[in-house]
């Protein structure tokens, strides 16, 4: 293999580098398109206030997807745990107890998902779709369909600790980065993360090398539940209100953030750096599109397209087999490349199998 090519591929393999480039390019585009807004610092402070719940959700979901599973129930945790936080903070007069119970409710939802998926064997897409409806419905019952205003919540120290401001800087951004950094370490440096990667890669292999597949899968869902609850706390505190529909918009955004970031839809390979970049890309695209006067449904349509394009792009980059099938299909269709294209070196080795 010639040296320049391997150097290039090493650069491409540096985690999250391409996607960070995309994020940077996006910032520059916005700076040129709307210099008044994007050359000031306020817009960035606004992102740092609004993106954290999305980032926390996406970071946790990255681990679930790394394990080859999916969780569609987190929007209901955003609602349920938000209600638990608001209700018990009010009833018990302690936001700390409210926080604790909120996190516990997230853990409970995650644990139930884990039991359904890991022990009973329900495919996670079905199990969590069902629990999404279950907990979403129950939240409406608990809250009697009402929204709560939490006007005085800033009297509490906890509020300042979680979503306060240092100067103009929103504290929740620090929490979100801390969560992302911790989960990065867990995924890439901890036994648990390695187990998730092997389970997502091939659960049968994971089992024979001594991974307790059931237990680790369950843990991944519990982690997701707790993190969704934490995201809900950040959101509910930041908004100073609880709506029983408050999780609704996150499903598409969070999925998009994870997959734009380069995490494999097939499991076994995940990038938290990518997820962080993906979260901000989604946050900025949405804010940018809204600023241009597009209506919400158009914004969603655009995010959907970006999401799909990113997934296809990553499949072509990371699944050499699929890429070569794709390239062959193109070649057959447009018969203009007679000789094999360069850069197929890594795929050719596989032929030796």
């Amino acid at each position: 293999m010639p040296a320049p090519e391997s150097a290039r591929s090493r650069l491409l393999e540096t985690e999250g580098l391409p996607i960070m480039g995309v994020l940077l390019a996006l910032v520059i585009v916005f700076m040129i398109a709307a210099p008044d807004v994007f050359l000031g610092y306020r817009i960035y402070m606004s992102f740092l206030a609004t993106v954290p719940p999305l980032l926390v959700l996406a970071a946790a979901l990255t681990l679930v997807i790394a394990a080859g599973e999916i969780d569609l129930s987190f929007p209901s945790v955003i609602a349920l745990s938000g209600w638990v936080l608001a209700y018990f903070t009010h009833v018990l007069g302690s936001p700390w107890l409210g926080l604790l119970l909120a996190l516990a409710s997230g853990a409970l939802v995650g644990w139930l998902n884990g039991i359904l998926v890991a022990r009973i064997g329900v495919p996670s897409i079905i199990a969590t779709l069902a629990t999404q409806f279950l907990w979403g419905g129950l939240t409406t019952v608990f809250s009697q369909g009402l929204s709560y205003a939490l006007g005085e919540v800033d009297q509490y120290f906890l509020w300042h600790l979680l979503v306060g401001r240092v100067g103009a800087f929103p504290v929740q951004a620090l929490w979100a980065f801390a969560v992302a950094a911790s989960l990065y370490l867990v995924l890439n440096r901890h036994r648990f993360g390695e187990h998730l990667l092997f389970i997502g890669d091939n659960a049968r292999v994971a089992e024979v090398v001594g991974v307790n597949v059931q237990r680790e899968r369950t843990r991944a869902f519990v982690l997701m539940g707790v993190m969704a609850a934490f995201a809900s706390v950040l959101l509910t505190f930041e908004n100073r209100s609880f709506f029983n529909t408050q999780g609704g918009g996150y499903l598409l955004e969070v999925m998009a953030a994870v997959f734009i970031g380069g995490t494999s839809v097939f499991g076994g390979k995940a990038s938290l750096v990518g997820t962080v970049a993906g979260s901000f890309i989604i946050g900025m695209v949405e804010a940018g599109l809204v600023a241009t006067g597009l209506q919400g449904f158009w914004v969603r349509a655009v995010v959907g397209v970006v999401f799909l394009a990113a997934v296809i792009g990553h499949i072509l980059i990371e699944e050499p087999e699929r890429r070569s099938v794709f390239v062959r299909a193109l070649r057959d269709r447009y018969d203009f490349v007679r000789k094999s294209s360069p850069g197929g070196g890594s795929t050719e080795r596989r032929g030796a199998r």
Binding site: R191, E194, L197, F198, N202, V205, V209, R349, R350, R353
Partner: protein, 268 residues
């Protein structure tokens, strides 16, 4: 977490590295093993033979802690195991290493992870000592497997390797952890002839090193060459056992063909 100290084996004398007694295994309605008695002596190479679906893989998965038998007893170094607490990790602790049939590596994962997954070198709180794992992996790749010059290192992913190289990694992993019993489940499937020789040499090395091996292989000549004893499994039961001196390769082959034909006529 290691309950059985690795050195225990050397100190205590025992007759069988592993012994299965009246083992049954059912998957729903499928009776994969029934009333199986099977033992591997100290420093013995046992060739396990049988048609596809005979129950060979099921048997060795029970030995290696992947599957829990529905009934029966397992003895390791003449000590009865508590099957409720037996697992792959426990088998590793008892110095039983297995190269499973087909895929036994995570394709998208780097080699260093594949070598240590399930028994990572960890510091506090379960964080992996990545540097150390990579160091050992690189040494292993250079020395034991001789991958020098292939551009393969501990960061390479399994999908960059050929079938032979993959099997080499799986065997190197079993070798590295220095087991007393090495279980090989059809390790030569899809290997080139020269690579098959390497596997046979490895089995002979196990024998020379005073250790034991269960060797599952379809090529009768190959098993016959390296095994001390042959055990034939058919539809979940042991139907024949021979020390190598008791049977010629030709007789063995005739017997296996007869079994195969009989099975066809049974119309399964």
């Amino acid at each position: 977490m290691t309950e059985a100290a690795p050195n225990e084996s050397a100190a205590v004398s025992f007759r069988h590295v592993v012994r299965l007694e009246k083992v049954e295994m059912t998957f729903g309605k499928v009776q994969a093993l029934s009333n199986v008695d099977f033992a591997v002596g100290r420093n013995e190479i046992v060739g396990l033979l049988g048609d596809n679906g005979a129950g060979k893989s099921t048997l060795i998965k029970i030995v290696s802690g992947v599957l829990r038998p529905t009934a029966g007893e397992i003895w390791v170094r003449d000590r009865l195991l508590n099957l409720d607490r037996y697992s792959v990790r426990k088998a590793h602790d008892l110095r039983i290493e297995t190269v499973h049939q087909g895929q036994s590596l995570g394709e998208k994962q780097p080699l260093w992870r594949n070598l240590f997954v399930g028994r990572q070198i960890t510091g506090r709180f379960g964080f992996i000592d990545v540097k150390k794992e990579k160091e050992i992996a690189d040494q292993l790749l250079r020395r034991a497997i001789g991958f020098r010059g292939h551009g393969i290192n501990s960061d390479s992913t399994v999908r960059d390797l050929s079938g032979g190289e993959r099997q080499g990694i799986a065997i190197a992993r079993a070798m590295y952890f220095e087991a007393d019993l090495i279980v090989l489940d059809e390790p030569t499937t899809a290997l080139a002839v020269s690579e098959v020789r390497k596997v046979l040499a490895f089995v002979e090395g196990v024998k020379a090193g005073g250790r034991a091996c269960i060797y599952i292989e379809h090529n009768l000549a190959h098993v016959y060459e390296v095994a001390d004893r042959l055990v034939i499994l058919d539809r979940g039961t042991v139907v024949g056992q021979f020390a190598k001196g008791e049977i010629t390769l030709a007789d063995l082959t005739a017997r296996m063909i007869a079994l195969h034909e009989g099975r066809k006529h049974a119309g399964t």
